[in-house]
């Protein structure tokens, strides 16, 4: 599903150049649930942003679902993001004046889907994350866990190939974190490929594979015995 080869990325700030990714080689197959771990500043988000086409690598190749991702202009990047990817953020990034339902329907709007169909689908995904009766609520009327569920529903709505989650439980307490992880595991059980950036070992243990990042290189990449989140709730 994802193949990256010898990926390099550095940030230029003034005269200094900060070499963040120093040659990442990495494959993800369909249906995997991978966590990317590493200390703060190790380049986890940078890697995820490149995978998410929000940023571009300096050198190296990236193939997503058989499509070579290169020479992106804004238009093409936007179309690929819409078609291939779903994003889940630490701070949810819901649009605060739109209802839960409208938030979930937004990626479908950018797909050019008609309103009626859009709303039906958004409703179905809200049901899937257990928030059907909250669909008319605004984000600030929801708890943190509920907000993240709405964000997950939104990420799923466009039926993407891959879900990218940057610290999805970073802003949640332990109990809520596990509930969210349970949802993510369920979605993965249905066969969807998911990448999670986290620095919490217990969250990483709930994925099926842990990739460890240090100083811009992968130092460890191991399959784990998945801990089911539901057992810990």
């Amino acid at each position: 599903m994802i193949t990256i080869k010898d990926l390099h990325k550095s940030y230029k700030t003034g005269n200094n150049s900060l070499h963040v990714l120093k040659g990442i080689n990495f494959n993800v197959s369909e249906g995997e649930l991978v966590s990317i771990m590493g200390s703060s500043g190790s380049g986890k988000s940078t890697l995820l942003n490149i995978l998410g086409m929000l940023d571009e690598a300096d050198t190296g190749s990236y193939t997503l679902d058989g499509v070579a991702i290169k020479n992106l202009n804004e238009k093409i990047a936007a179309r690929y993001r819409n078609k291939f990817l779903g994003f889940i953020f630490q701070s949810f990034n819901l649009i605060n004046y739109k209802s839960a339902l409208d938030n979930v329907a937004l990626p479908l709007y950018y797909q050019g889907m008609k309103r009626g169909e859009r709303m039906d689908r958004a409703k179905a995904y809200l049901e899937k994350v257990g928030l059907a009766q909250w669909m008319d609520h605004l984000p600030n009327q929801l708890s943190g866990g509920q907000k993240q569920r709405v964000a997950i529903a939104r990420a799923l709505a466009s039926d993407p190939k891959v879900l990218l989650a940057d610290e999805p439980t970073g802003a949640l307490d332990t109990k809520t974190s596990y509930e969210v992880m349970d949802l993510i595991q369920q979605i993965n059980d249905e066969g969807r490929t998911i990448l999670i950036v986290t620095h919490e070992p217990d969250i990483a243990q709930m994925t099926k594979r842990i990739v460890n990042l240090k100083d811009g290189l992968i130092i460890d990449d191991t399959k784990v015995n998945q801990v089911r989140a539901l057992q810990n709730v």
Binding site: N49, G52, L54, D55, E74, K75, A78, R79, R81, N82, K83, F87, F89, Q90, S91, N93, L94, I95, N96, Y97, K98, D102, L106, P107, Y109, Y110, Q111, R115, R154, S158
Partner: protein, 415 residues
């Protein structure tokens, strides 16, 4: 622009940010409001002056004698010029083909009119039949003077509507009655009305030949009035009018031994030229009002643009999210532009309608000679609407450009 989905997006954004939208619209609405009021006043001024002129034929030319102010050929200044019948006869004959209507006037100011127990003092004017058209008078009842009256010096009179009201009250039996003018009986043959209003209806007309005989006028006349044959264009008419006035002036100055530069001894007044001057003035006032109005709208546009910029900045993260979810740069531009145009147009239309309503209600209540019936016509209203849409697009341009350049990775970074 006709994308229904986009409209829904815009309505949603607006309805969830009512105060912000309201404040944005207010500046534009007041700008258009002021523009409409100013344009209305400009139109009212034009109407007011037009009405002032309506009293007489639009292309009338008047000749009044005055007092000389310059010594000429041994004659002292301060000499009063007296026009005579032959002045009128000569100018009429000389310009026969160019003239449409013509009349000389022998006038008695403050003639005493009496009918039974009512009496009053009015201007009594001895005139020719053409005078009806020179004055734009129309008959309420009966007839105006005719050439037989002139030839036979009949003692008949045409009353102004005001005079009729004063002397006869509401009585319908006016025709055939006799009124006394300075003690002499005249038979009433008609009553006229004049668009010039009460002032111009407080006069009575009698045949000039009768007036000169009865009131010991001899050959004297007080003024001449003419209109020229109509021309196809205003420019031709103005040219003909100027030719004629020059000719008459030169002739009369020669005949009465007046210095060529002595302009107060004979005054030739051309309505056409006066009107032109007024229209030029009104045109300038209107241009000025447009200028002020447009400046107000520009201020409004700058305001909207500023607010939209702040809004874009406020919505940076939201725009980042939209882009991460697949929004194309064009779609972001469209969103901001659409909102800007919609808000400006809607607010502007509100201002336009409020201005029109105000003009409609207050306009008829304005009672001055200078402003009459201030209105804004459909064409002007339409141009303001076009201005609004353009203004909205301009106001939205920079903010939308900035919005399109927002990088999602920067917008979404967690602080």
């Amino acid at each position: 622009m006709f994308d229904l989905e986009r409209w829904q997006e815009v309505f949603e954004t607006i309805s969830k940010n009512k105060l912000r939208t309201f404040l944005t619209g207010l500046s534009v609405a007041s700008g258009i409001f002021i523009l409409v009021i100013l344009l209305g006043i400009g139109e009212g001024m034009k109407n007011g002056i037009e009405r002032e002129f309506q009293g007489d034929a639009a292309n009338a030319i008047y000749v009044y004698p005055g007092v000389t102010t310059k010594e000429y050929k041994g004659l002292n200044p301060g000499r009063r010029i007296q026009l005579k019948n032959d002045d009128f006869e000569y100018t009429s004959a000389e310009n026969k083909s160019a003239l449409e209507f013509k009349s000389s006037v022998y006038r008695i100011y403050g003639g005493l009119l009496t009918y039974e127990n009512e009496s009053g003092s009015y201007s009594v004017e001895g005139v020719y039949p053409d005078y009806q058209f020179l004055e734009n008078a129309s008959m309420v009842t009966g007839r105006f003077l005719n050439y037989k009256d002139i030839e036979e010096s009949t003692k008949i009179v045409v009353l102004g509507n005001r005079v009729k009201m004063d002397l006869f009250k509401d009585s319908k039996d006016v025709l055939g009655e006799y009124v006394e003018i300075s003690g002499i009986k005249f038979q009433v043959v008609g009553v006229y009305t004049d668009p010039g209003g009460e002032r111009e209806e407080s006069r009575v007309f009698v045949p000039i030949t009768t007036a000169q005989k009865v009131f010991s006028g001899g050959n004297n006349i007080n003024s001449l009035s003419f209109t020229l044959e109509p021309k196809d264009t205003y420019e031709e008419a103005l040219l003909a009018s100027n030719n004629f006035t020059n000719k008459v002036e030169t002739y009369l100055k020669g005949k009465h031994t007046i210095a060529p530069g002595d302009n107060s001894a004979v005054r030739v007044n051309s309505r056409l030229e006066n009107t032109k001057r007024f229209y030029d003035l009104i045109g300038m006032i209107k241009m000025f009002f447009w200028g002020v109005g447009i400046c107000t709208i520009i201020a409004g546009v700058v305001g909207v643009s500023n607010i939209m910029l702040i809004i874009v900045k406020e919505r940076t993260r939201e725009i980042g999210v939209r882009k991460a979810l697949g929004a194309q740069p064009l779609s972001i531009i469209g969103m901001v532009l659409h909102e800007s145009i919609f808000v400006t147009s809607f607010a502007g239309l509100t201002g336009l309608i409020m201005g029109l309503v105000l003009l409609d209600f207050v306009g008829p209540m304005i009672q001055t000679d200078f402003i009459y019936n201030p209105t804004v016509n459909f064409k002007v209203a339409l141009s303001t609407v076009v201005i609004l849409i353009v203004a909205g697009a301009i106001a939205g341009f920079f903010p939308s450009y900035r919005a399109a350049r927002i990088k999602p990775i920067i917008a979404l970074r967690d602080e």
